[in-house]
């Protein structure tokens, strides 16, 4: 089942890297329209270290070094720094990259199979999250797709490609490098 595949993924995949394509489906007065598309790269090292960088159309980097979450937006030329703890609580990052006991933050439910992909649903237990439900599509033991539905009913789909399992990363792989000239917003 999807949940079994996912649990073994979490246990057996300590690190990973790959690329992602995010497509936002916009609900415009009831009509479903393909909205914005963005793509980039991801890396993670469990627990609590990840890089989620949008390359196109606009550069925006989310990076967790195990202690802090850094968000650099190139157009705003600003870096926002937050404590990692509650920042990724019930977000896709927590699912893919976070600590192993997912059921602390989510209720998991198998959600059937289609086109060879086994789906599971993760419903955030935490109330004040932007997500209504996060669906994860598993294939050959890897999460290859995610669907993020927010509380306005809008859906973002994520396709994870070029998945490399358990690459070894250098010690400073997840150390955040402050972009020159960027304004830093510290809490």
């Amino acid at each position: 089942s999807a949940i079994e595949q996912f649990k073994s993924f979490v246990v057996n995949t300590k690190t990973a890297k790959g690329t992602f394509v995010q497509v936002q489906v916009k609900l415009v007065n009831g009509k479903v329209q393909p909205g914005k598309t963005a793509s980039g790269i991801f890396k993670f090292s469990r627990p609590g270290k990840f890089i989620w960088n949008y390359v196109k159309p606009y550069e925006q980097n989310l990076q967790a070094d195990g202690d802090k979450l850094y968000m650099f937006d190139k157009d705003l030329n600003q870096v926002t720094i937050k404590a990692l703890g509650n920042a990724i609580g019930s977000s896709p990052a927590a699912i893919l990259f976070g600590s192993t006991d997912l059921e602390k933050n989510f209720t998991l439910k198998d959600a059937g199979i289609n086109q060879g992909i086994e789906w599971l649903e993760a419903i955030p237990k935490e109330k004040d999250t932007q997500f209504e439900v996060i669906r994860i599509g598993m294939k050959d033991g890897l999460p290859i797709a995610m669907e993020l539905r927010d509380t306005f009913g809008q859906i973002s789909t994520l396709n994870l490609n070029n998945f490399e399992r358990n690459p070894n990363f250098g010690a400073s792989e997840f150390k955040f490098v402050m972009p020159a000239g960027a304004e830093v917003l510290r809490p």
Binding site: Q22, Q24, G35, K36, Y54, P57, Y58, Q60, L62, M71, D73, D75, L76, N77, Q78, T80, S91, P92, K127, D128, T129, Q130, F131, L148, D150, T151, F152, Q154, S156, L185, P187
Partner: protein
């Protein structure tokens, strides 16, 4: 300073038209004070301005809608994740009461396009220069960089700052990334200030 392409002399002296109807989107970060601590919100925004109605949506980087702010002749509404929609007559008062910070929505209708409203209500184009500063409606607005889209020169990076007794310091940074003025919009006649 930002390595944005510098404006040509022609672009800087071109007469700019205010667009009554326009759709914009970009990045926004808001720094506001909440019980003596500085809080930061940052994400994407969509700004859909029609002649009689305005819709602003604030979204997270992953595309989730955080809030939808609407303003119509009848009043303002604020929809937030998992909360009842709130209504009020004035949009800025609605935001201040619900969020503890506010967007200068009336001002932004002009400033996002690089204009400012005169006391007689007429809109005047701000000089098209990098780091052009404007003081208006209690705000300090820096038009840090400009950009051309659809043959129209418009602000790209805008920094807004205000300090009030009630809300303390409020800093908003906006990067306009998508700009499409509705072709058949009724552009109001505006003059360009005669450079001294």
């Amino acid at each position: 300073c930002a390595n944005a392409p510098k404006l040509s002399h022609e672009q800087m002296s071109r007469t700019r038209q205010y667009q009554e109807q326009i759709t914009l989107s970009g990045k926004i970060s808001i720094q506001y004070q909440q019980n003596e601590k500085t809080e930061t919100l940052s994400g994407n925004f969509d700004w859909q301005q029609l002649s009689k109605e305005l819709t602003i949506s604030l979204n997270s980087p992953l595309g989730q809608t955080i809030a939808i702010i609407r303003e119509t002749p009848q009043g303002a509404s604020l929809q937030q994740a998992k909360q009842e929609t709130r209504y009020a007559q004035d949009v800025e008062q609605l935001l201040t009461e619900s969020l503890g910070w506010s967007l200068p929505v009336a001002g932004l209708k002009d400033w996002l396009q690089g204009f400012d409203r005169q006391t007689n209500g007429q809109k005047l184009a701000v000089p098209t220069k990098d780091y052009q500063r404007l003081m208006s409606q209690g705000w300090q607005i820096d038009f840090t960089t400009w950009q051309e889209d659809q043959q129209q020169v418009h602000p790209k990076l805008i920094n807004l700052y205000r300090r009030t007794e009630e809300l303390g310091e409020l800093k908003i940074r906006i990067a306009i990334l998508e700009w499409n003025a509705d072709q058949n919009s009724n552009t109001a006649p505006v003059g360009v200030p005669s450079t001294p």
